[in-house]
Symmetry: C2
Subunit: 255 residues, 2 copies
């Protein structure tokens, strides 16, 4: 059980030099996160910064009329709660668990102290924050210019990059909430992907069966963000995504 919460399973923590890790380790506590759990409510101060291991957390903005849109996601490559060390303590967006799983957390005040003290930790967290900024700006661009079909591909890729397998548990309704579109739009887009033998899905379970094809159908946004994460945080590159950089030719792929 202890191994499931090994700090080395989060890429940011794993990248810390031993000395700073020794200071941080006793402050970390294991947490299980359930699907739909809200780690962080809009405008409310929260106590902890979370380091996901095999869970995925979405940063979602909910508008006055109830409509929502995801602005970024974080998994084992990162953390949730940058505002706690950036100095603002709260944000207008909500953090909710998109895929259940485990993680580690630390009290914000304690992390803040280490952040001010340890240069390596600080540089690491700030580099991650910049990667997150890239993801957010690309979400803005994607929302402006790309179709629901393309965005679904991007979203699926970003999700399975953070999961141990190619399967995810997620209804079309929830995906629609994330993308900020109608559920029927997701039904249609997912139908096309299934017809193209790119994914399989059935009542809340989705499996990606042809990743290269999915990448071919996604907009450039996925690649831009992936490359920027790889540049800023080279040790976090998921083996799945990295395999893509090899010149894989797949028949009939692309659009």
């Amino acid at each position: 059980m202890a191994a499931a919460f090994d700090p080395k399973l989060n890429d940011l923590l794993a990248a810390l030099p031993a000395e700073e890790m020794d200071r941080l380790q006793p402050l970390l506590e294991p947490v299980q996160m359930g699907l739909g759990e809200v780690l962080y409510e809009s405008g409310k101060r929260q106590a902890h910064v979370y380091f996901p291991i095999d869970s995925i957390v979405s940063l979602v903005y909910v508008m006055e009329n109830g409509a929502s849109a995801e602005v970024a996601i974080a998994g084992h490559e990162g953390l949730v709660g940058v505002s706690l060390f950036m100095g603002g303590d709260t944000t207008p967006s909500r953090a909710l668990v998109q895929s259940a799983g485990s993680g580690l957390r630390i009290k914000g005040s304690l992390l803040r102290k280490e952040f001010d003290r340890g240069v390596a930790l600080r540089q690491l967290l700030l580099r991650y924050t910049q990667a997150l900024i890239t993801q957010m700006t690309q979400t803005a661009v994607c929302n402006r210019h790309h179709t629901v079909d393309q965005q679904l591909c991007r979203w699926l890729l970003m999700s399975i990059d953070r999961l141990p397998s190619n399967k995810l548990v997620m209804t079309q309704e929830l995906i629609a909430n994330m993308l900020g579109v109608r559920r029927e739009g997701v039904t249609e887009a997912a139908g096309k992907l299934q017809a193209a033998a790119t994914i399989l899905y059935h009542r809340g379970r989705i499996e990606v069966i042809d990743r290269p094809k999915l990448e071919g159908m996604a907009c450039e946004c996925y690649e831009v963000v992936r490359k920027e994460y790889a540049r800023l945080l080279p040790w976090t590159v998921s083996p799945k995504a990295a395999a893509k950089t090899a010149p894989v030719e797949v028949g009939g792929g692309g659009r």
Copy 2:
């Protein structure tokens, strides 16, 4: 002429404690920025961090096919080039001067040194970065859910908040590039605003003549971002925008 480049004219620099300001001041050099000038090219490392005074700089992402979208803007309340102290050195987006004017700049390496050394400077820049993150996420949400009409209102408000008057020099073509929509869409939206006696425009010159009405027609995004800037950087609140918080009732305003 020297007074025009007084560091106190940039809100971030003005908020620095005297001691840190004394160290920074000799490193600052005045710059004039021309309309359309590119301060920062996508993926290219740049030498300086810019502190606008009466200029406005847009952060724009340009896609492979040439389409573009603005993800954030910065004026006298902030700075351009967060990646230089966040540690990534470059970003995928471009920084271009949207409104000509003056500013101050500092070599990235020098700022970085002060950033690591001075706690007040560091906290200030990180708080600003968080405000910028809020603006970016809100742009993402706005792109997803709001109409061109609403976005134009938001964009005009954000621009004049950073300018000394209610007038701005900007063709509809350029605004369309910023918003990532067709020029004709901007023509139509601006026509409605003019018909409603909210703005006046004529061949590249726009004047806001009824700010409260413009605020009433904008989406919630403008207010969310304004409030978050006011919370994180209270000393930067523009008198124009602040006046709004007073209970001004204007006949026929709003929607």
